[in-house]
Structures are given as structure tokens and as C-alpha cells.
Symmetry: none
Subunit: 249 residues, 2 copies
DNA sequence: TCGATTTTGATTATTTTTGAACAAATCAGC
DNA sequence: GCTGATTTGTTCAAAAATAATCAAAATCGA
């Protein structure tokens, strides 16, 4: 039982249980506690675990990518309906923006075989599309771990360098009075996309329609179309606007 | 029983059991331990196994989602030595560049719990560092699927907007005459990093040292230090330069 | 065949790894 | 705060593995 094997053992256990204990490990591996401690210290030194009194813990206790997939899976059927409809508006040769929302993410599965160029600030979108027909352009700037996307001043400036035919975006709220976001970061980048694309599609499940929340960042006439499963009563509010309404289901 | 046959034997056993033991092999093959050790060292040098005390283990048995890791596992032992040394030069509060080479990628594991900011064009690096203490900045621009990184004009301009204290870079060849690359894309982005960082560390295994290949893109005096396992005879060529040489092993 | 080169093995010295003992630091309870 | 128990760091010693050196054996090319 050499160091490499113990290291593997310790990391395996760490992955399963999230924490390890010096005494437990010593007993399980049939090795002295002082050696286990040395192992843990080296692993901690290499950044592979957090050293605690009496043992160690995982460096990153929560696996974010899975979180995102789970969140994106909420209301998945509706989102997939919306995205399938959106994909009908994307054709070979198109250059499109995709934002970092969980709805837009589900658009990936429907465009993998299209010969298009996608410009996005969303890391999950990039992972999802990186080995298929789609050619990718990544918006640069500060990475926001919680949103798994790039945001901020540099990102907005980066977007301003490109022009596309279509943008596919999500939003926290939409009504006849405009678009609403729960955070400035999201608002700014969404607005940047809108400004740089000839036509904007908003992908909104019924819960977002008619909702006016926190920060208004754009007028409704800046948007070309909304793709939604909301029923007519909710969509009534758009009757005096030029918004194209694409209903699903 | 010549070296080729023993080598085959050792690799076969490695594939089946995942590990080998010097004493066991010596007994099984009817050959002295010192010879087995020499064999293992050579195999390790070729990146075909991971040398341990008393034997060897399979290279990187855990398959990561990104197959990049496999490439990076070639010569992993040496690369890890180099990267561990590099990590000693990175401290909390630092802002650093990391490029998209397979050597630099292995630096990730040693900096996960440092409170630093990393600016990179490498997707595997981002993936590896995205849920730890490191704060990330992604270089934007066109994504190159083969290299799993962002390259090109926009990327270079993006880099030019930042200044950092240190850059950790790979290269295809390095000698007293300068830095060499096998592609223009790599050359340009490496040069962009060099120009925007106060101090540059080149991470080069012995095979790169003294090699002059394809395209020279920078002078040796633009580099601060080289971290390498090359021996003194190879490093002699730098004796008239200001290059700091950090040797490992 | 001969001499030169490479490979292998034996011996010795060095390094690495491991464990034990003990002092210092840390934690948990009051 | 204090006290006792636990954990840790340090130092040292033993064991194992390795590197270094040199000699013997095998291989190779002429």
C-alpha cells in the first residue's frame, strides 16, 4: 500500500462521503495515523482537499454543473416545447446569440446538427455544443460561478463587437411595459444581445409572462417575438404591441 | 528476455491489474530488481506508466469528461513535478495567465484552493477550476474545437486589455534563440500573454528544451524563468541569457 | 574472430517512506 | 476564562526502495 494507492483511496472516499477521518482511514487502510496525516497534508497542499482537525473535506462540496442541469430540467417538457419551436427558426448559415438561462440551454439539443455559428456567454451551452456541427464563439470576461456564465463590462463590450441575425434569450419577467430581470448583470448582458441582433426571440414559459420584477431594462418593442406556452388571457397584454407571439402546445 | 518483451509484459500486467510491483515482476520474469527498476523508469519517462515507490501504476485511471486529460497524461509525472514547482510561485492575491497547453493544464490541480484570479483561453482549465477558490476570467473569441481553446484576433485583443503579474505558459520549443511554436495561432496568443504579464514562466519538459521548430515568435529575454526537468547539458545554451532556470527533480 | 558497445547484475551509499515518542497547538466541555 | 483530551508538528530511528558505481555478460559490427 503505497502513497499513490492511499491517495486514490482517500480521494475516492472523499468523493463518496464528502469527508474523511484520520482514525477511520488508518484502520481501513491498515496504516498508522501519522502516515495518514502526512498524506492528508500533502493532498491539502496540492489543493485536492480541505484539511480539518481529525480529517479532511472535499474542496467543492456542491457539484454545480449538476445543479444547472437539474434546474434546467425543472419544467423540462414545457421548456423543450418552446425550444423545439425556437429551433424551427434557426437555419444553416445563421449566426445567433444564446444567453445563459436555463431555458435557452435546452435549445442546444435541437441545434446540434445545424451548420450555424453560436455566440454565447454560457459555459453549459459551450460544453453541450463543443463537439458538433455548430461553430462556437465564446464571450470573454469575468466568469460567474453561480450562473456558470461570463458577465460584466468586458463581456458587454465583447458582445458589442459582433452583429447577428437572431438572438435567443430568456428573461425573469416580461409584460407590455418591457423586460425585467432579477439582477443588473443579467439585464446588461441581455440588453447587449438585443442591441446587437437584428431580431430577438424571447423564450418564456407561462410563469414569466405578465410578471414585472425588480429591474426593467428594455422596452417591449425592442423584442421581435416571444415563444411561450402562456394562454391567451396572459398574452392579452401584448395586443397593443408589435410583438410576434409564437404559441406552443 | 529482452527489454521489448519485458516492456510488453509489464504493460500487459498494468492493463489487467492497474499496478505492478518491482519485486513481483523480478520474480515472475526471473530478472533482477534493478533491471525491472530501469525498465519502469524508462516506461515512466515515455509516459506509459506512473512510477511509484516499489512499482508503478496506470496513468490516470479516472476518465474525465474532457478527453483532453488523456493527452495531458502523457509524461504526466514530469509535468506534475514541473507544475508543483510552478504552484510554489503562485500566492493568494495573484492574478495570473494560463495558456491552453497540456502541461499548463496540469497546474490546475495544485492551485485549486489558492485565492487567485486566473485568466485563460483554455476550456479544460476553466472546467477544472470552475468550482473552487480560484476566480476565473475567460478570454473571448472563436472557439477552436481541436485545441479546446479560444484563439484569434478578438482573443488577442481581449488579452491586451488585461495586465497580470505572472503568466504560466507552454511552448513547442525553446532555446537561446527564442521561443518556437508549431502554429501561428498558438504563437500569437502566447506572445499576447507574454506582453501583458510582468513576469513569464515557461513550463517545459526536457523534450522542448533546445528544440527550434517551425515558427520563432519571441526572444528568450522576453521570458523570466523556465521550469524544466532538462539536465544541465541541455540548459547550457541559456548560460549567456538572463533566463532564470528552475530545475525539478 | 576481435574489440566496442550495450545490457545486466552485484555492491554500496543515498534517499524515501514509515512509525514511535514527545512537546506544542487545538478543541470541547464546563 | 480554565482543564483535560485530542490532534498535530517535530524529531529521530528503522526499514524499504532507489541511485550510483563498477564489473560481468551479452550483443553487435566489422
Amino acid at each position: 500500500m503505497n502513497f499513490q494507492k492511499r491517495k486514490q483511496n482517500i480521494l475516492d472516499k472523499l468523493n463518496v462521503t464528502g469527508e474523511v477521518d484520520v482514525k477511520e482511514l488508518a484502520a481501513e487502510l491498515g496504516i498508522s495515523e501519522i502516515t495518514i496525516r502526512r498524506d492528508l497534508n500533502q493532498l491539502a497542499n496540492d489543493g485536492l482537499l480541505y484539511r480539518t482537525h481529525g480529517g479532511g473535506m472535499k474542496v467543492d462540496p456542491l457539484a454545480k454543473p449538476i445543479d444547472f442541469v437539474n434546474k434546467s430540467a425543472q419544467n423540462a417538457e414545457v421548456k423543450d416545447l418552446i425550444c423545439r419551436k425556437a429551433a424551427e427558426h434557426i437555419h444553416d448559415g445563421d449566426i445567433i446569440f444564446m444567453d445563459c438561462g436555463s431555458t435557452v440551454f435546452r435549445l442546444c439539443q435541437f441545434i446540434k446538427n445545424k451548420k450555424i455559428k453560436v455566440i454565447t456567454n454560457s459555459l453549459p451551452v459551450i460544453y453541450e455544443l463543443q463537439n458538433c456541427a455548430v461553430s462556437l464563439n465564446i464571450i470573454g470576461g469575468e466568469y460567474n460561478a453561480e450562473r456558470q456564465a461570463v458577465h460584466g463590462k468586458i463581456a458587454n463590450e465583447h458582445i458589442a463587437r459582433y452583429r447577428t441575425g437572431k438572438a435567443f434569450l430568456g428573461v425573469d419577467g416580461i409584460s407590455q411595459n418591457g423586460l425585467f430581470a432579477n439582477s443588473e448583470l443579467e439585464a446588461e448582458i441581455t440588453l447587449a444581445y438585443i442591441n446587437q441582433s437584428a431580431y430577438t426571440y424571447m423564450l418564456c414559459d407561462a410563469g414569466k409572462v405578465g410578471k414585472e420584477t425588480y429591474l426593467k431594462f428594455a422596452d417591449i418593442n425592442q423584442v421581435g417575438a416571444i415563444i411561450t406556452n402562456a394562454d391567451d388571457s396572459k398574452l392579452d397584454c401584448f395586443k397593443d404591441t408589435a410583438l410576434a407571439i409564437l404559441k406552443v402546445k
